[in-house]
Amino acid sequence: MPYQLIWVIFLLPLAAFALTGMGTRLFAKDRPALSGYISVAAIAGSLILSVWALITVLSSTGHELPVPALDWLVVGSLNVQLGMIVDPLTVIMLIVITFVSLMVQLYSQGYMHGDPGYHRYFAFISLFTFSMLGLVLFDNLLITFVFWELVGLCSYLLIGFWFQRPAAANAAKKAFIVTRIGDFGFLAAIILLLSQTGTLDIGELNNLAVTGLLAGSALTWAALGIFFGAVGKSAQFPLHVWLPDAMEGPTPVSALIPAATMVAAGVFLVARMFPLFESSEAALLTVAIIGGVTAIFAATMGLVMTDIKRVLAYSTISQLGYMMLGLGTGGVAVGIFHLVNHAFFKGLLFLGAGSVNHAAGTFDMRKMGGLRKVMPWTFVTFLVASLSMSGIWPLSGFWSKDEILASSLANQPVLFWLAMITVVMTAFYMFRVIFMTFGGHYRGDGHPHESPRVMVLPMVALGVLAAVSGLVNVTGGFGAFLGHGETHGFIEGLFGIFTHPLPWFGLILAGAGILLAYAMYSAQWLSPLRIRRFFAPLHTIFSRKYWMDELYENVITRLVLMKGIFAGFQLFDSHVIDDGINSRIIEQGIVRNFFNSLKFFDEKGVDGAVDGVADTTLGAGKRARKAQTGQLQVYGLFIVLGILAIILLAYFLS
């Protein structure tokens, strides 16, 4: 494959953005459908080329496609080039991004139909896809940061798409600022790496870490800084708070941003810089711990939400925690494998939730029920995705989750047990959703119906992948492609996995979670109400989200910063600096005295006509009106006098 086509993959969505953002807005305002077609065509082109790139990389020796670099910025010791890495990690990400984006865009044509911001929507989606592609393609950490930030900007624009709704505007702002706290760490790491190594080339940096030329505390701090960026972007504890609120965006956006692609950027970044992490035990351990803790922490909140999208949001945070745990204990292939599978099943779950909303007009599960009969397609695909995420054999989630559990058992036993508990919770909350939404009788007051074909088809396509994408590593081939593990036969892998006790254990736990959900929400053997009462304190903690929003927003932001420190600065600025030091010393002290002495000179030396100079400073506001021009003439006079003085002095000295 000619390397120029890699650039085309990247630039097609940008072209779509330019066309839908400006072109159609100006020339085809009355034909909104056009922008949808343009975006879809562009992203489909990117997908086809990405598949070609995958095949090329698979078949090439060394699994890499060289792309010549272009100069971008050279100043002194700073040399930033636009080069690309096209290796297995990149092409896998390309496929995931372009495929999920294509599905989401197809679906959006139905979901966003008739929205007044239709042009804008597709423009933003295209820009977002472009930024994601840039993020995974370029080989310089500064350029990665460029796209990292652009992805953040696009998520801001998409989450706040319905900006007239205060909740959406708030959520967008929150998402941007919270992720930017993480970016602070990423940027600090970039700065540190440049000063330590003189380069920001990802390949070189990784080499330096592998060969030990970059080591010690600098490396650890750099790795931690990068990870802090990933914590923000991938919504890990303690920066996870933005993601649930981000559900205020249109639902297909939720599928694209918090589910499939943007949040995966953090996981990707850690994977891309993995040699740095591998060389620092502390950094790797941090990744594993944050991942493991986030997984269970978010799952607890998922147990009690009644808004279907919120459940999915917390499940996303939890699953991202799994990915981090996989990276921290098992390496790149383990984490990325779950990323790929998760992108398909979680993308699908969000589209399903959107479809349900399209039908029932609400996201509140208490007003749903019985939708299985009227929305068979939505139900079946949603069920497949839920089973997959719960880790049921042989669906995709089973395979990647099993790898994460196995690697954490081998390396971090404590985290392993947390992850095992999370398995039960995951199965429970997903099937709680299934039973509340699709089971029983309809409790709402609308007339639910199946969604149009343009929405159902992408769900089916994602459903197929959510079922089978895990099979790519049954032979160990996926791991080998990413550089580690060994391969074996397909059938051997498919059934041989049960020669180990762990998968049995995981399946039993998942089954227990499903059973519990069935008992509570379908068969009603157990009353949810009584269980909730029994666990009242826990229920309160979970449903109030551990009061972290309150802590961040009310305590830290409002109280400590806005009413405390910043208000203190403001008072200091207006009273001490402005009224105090500046007006006392500068305005009245120095300038007034300076003027007075000049005035004295002026009265004696020139004539008495000029007065009121000192008044300038004394009653500035009031008196200025009267003597406006006078003062300036005086001032002009002083300039002239000053110049005269210089000339005279020079004359006498020479």
């Binding site: 460029v146 702002k173 700065i191 000063s195 305005e587 300036l632």
Partner: protein, 497 residues
């Protein structure tokens, strides 16, 4: 003799001002077009200058388009103008802002003749500062700028305009006195007013009447008032808040840059040893500017005052880049000045439209305007992207260069720590920009603003020019960094870089 580009760029606005002032009976429209011409031609000339400027490394630090004529032989004062890589970007910026400001002032209806005459005179003075290579000439341009500023704020301003105007004059005068003292010290020691010669002279080897450290701070205080640097910054919010829109744009666009430019041209270049010695303290001030300025910005409720305080924070990055004394950091600081001129110029211009059309400037009373004025909202959002350093805008690359350069410059001890603290500035910027955007433009549409007009054609025109340049520099920073670099590299060599 070569074509006198710089003289024309500086003095054509003066010609315009004289025509407007002296020819009676010009209609308002004629005055506007005369002004447009008197700034448009210099803009075209400055673009030609940009194209003709020789960027080769061999000419680093060499003055181009030089004009040097004896002026007051008695004190060896020359009419000496020229540009190198450091000053050219500012000459272009100044010509550009000067032109756009005429468009921004298009709706001025009060005392039109005087207004445009003063604006044109102001324009000439600012450009003159950047092009002067003779201390006396430099100082005269520096001080003359005060007079039009005074009238523009006190007559066409709003609120406590007389107070703000006087305050501006006093502060600048205060700073100017120090600058004059510094110039006199140098003049008596060397007998020359030539800034180029002075830069080549080793002032450490010459006995100055006043120690070099104090002379350094004479200049520094004068320039710090202008930039402004904490604690000399309080004139800025008042002047900005009460000035007419166009004057705010000039203030943010070019006037503040006189301070940063002069620090590089005079403090750093002529006193490298003192700079290096005192840099840690100045970096501390820079960080205070960034963090403190950003924090106070968040407390503002007047939309113009808010942007004024954000300027203080952004100028902190400039100070950080300059006194980290590294090649990348100083290039970044220069780029940041250019970028801030465009970005904040745009924000002030847009804010002016909001205030003019909605008759409201209190953020807590604004809201939902994106529905009534979509184009204004888009332009403000794009300007905000630049202010909070989103990639692809000029603000991003400038600030990142400052950070990267300051951290790794290795000239000033402690610079890495200051840099890391300074990074907080981009967080604060995101907070105040997004919060403002939300409070002014997002949320429910308010009925009281129904019927508020969106940007008209003239306003869209200057908006698009600002935005286009912001992205041009952000995506292809080499258009400027190549030039700036030739101006900065001779300075870097003073620090063994």
């Amino acid at each position: 003799m070569e074509f006198p580009f710089l003289t024309l760029i500086i003095f054509l606005p003066v010609v315009g001002a004289l025509i407007i002032a002296l020819i009676k009976g010009l209609s308002a429209t004629q005055i506007r077009y005369t002004s447009l011409l008197a700034t448009g031609i210099p803009l075209v000339l400055s673009v030609i200058l940009f194209a003709l400027f020789d960027r080769s490394e061999a000419l680093a630090g060499v003055i181009q388009f030089e004009e040097n004529i004896s002026w007051i032989p008695l004190i060896k004062a020359f009419y000496h103008v020229g540009v190198d890589g450091l000053s050219l970007p500012f000459v272009i910026l100044s010509a550009l802002i000067g032109f756009l400001v005429i468009l921004i002032s298009w709706k001025i209806n009060m005392r039109v003749r005087e207004y445009f005459a003063w604006i044109l005179l102001l324009q000439a003075a600012i450009t003159g500062v950047f092009a002067s290579l003779d201390f006396l000439l430099f100082f005269i341009f520096w001080e003359i700028e005060l007079i039009p500023m005074y009238f523009l704020i006190s007559i066409w301003g709003a609120g406590r305009k007389e107070y703000s105007a006087i305050k501006y004059v006093l502060y600048t005068l205060f700073g100017g006195a120090f600058i004059l003292a510094g110039i006199l010290v140098l003049f008596f020691a060397t007998g020359s007013l030539d800034m180029v010669e002075m830069a080549k002279t080793d002032l450490g080897a010459i006995a100055l009447a006043i120690p070099a450290v104090i002379t350094f701070f004479f200049f520094f205080i004068g320039f710090a008032v202008k930039l402004p640097v904490f604690p000399f910054h309080t004139w800025l919010p008042d002047a900005h808040t009460d000035a007419p829109t166009a004057v705010s744009v000039i203030l943010a666009g070019t006037l503040l840059k006189m301070g940063g430019y002069a620090m590089l041209r005079i403090n750093v270049t002529m006193f490298p040893d003192v700079s290096e010695l005192w840099a840690p303290m100045l970096l501390g001030l820079a960080v205070i500017n960034i963090v403190y300025g950003g924090a106070v910005t968040l407390k503002q409720t007047d939309i113009k005052r808010l942007i004024a305080y954000s300027s203080i924070s952004h100028m902190g990055f400039v100070l950080l880049g300059i006194f980290a004394l590294g090649q990348v950091s100083m290039t970044g600081a220069t780029l940041q000045m250019f970028s801030h001129g465009i970005v904040t110029g745009l924000l002030f211009a847009i804010t002016g439209i909001v205030m003019h059309n909605s008759h409201e400037r209190n953020i807590t009373k604004l809201g939902g305007l994106a529905k009534q004025m979509p184009n204004v909202a888009i332009m403000f959002a794009l300007g905000g992207m630049g202010a909070m350093a989103v990639p692809a805008t000029s603000g991003f690359i400038a600030e990142v260069m400052v950070f990267l350069g300051a951290f790794s410059a290795d000239v000033v001890p402690g610079a890495p720590i200051f840099t890391i603290v300074g990074l907080l500035g981009i967080l604060l910027a995101a907070a105040y920009i997004l919060w403002t955007l939300q409070r002014v433009f997002f949320g429910q549409r308010l009925e009281k603003f129904d019927g508020v007009k969106d940007a008209d054609r003239v306003e869209k025109t200057f908006g698009v020019i600002f935005i286009g340049l912001m992205f041009l520099v952000g995506v292809f920073p080499t258009v400027l960094t190549d030039i700036i670099n030739t101006g900065i590299s001779p300075i870097t060599s003073l620090f063994g870089g």
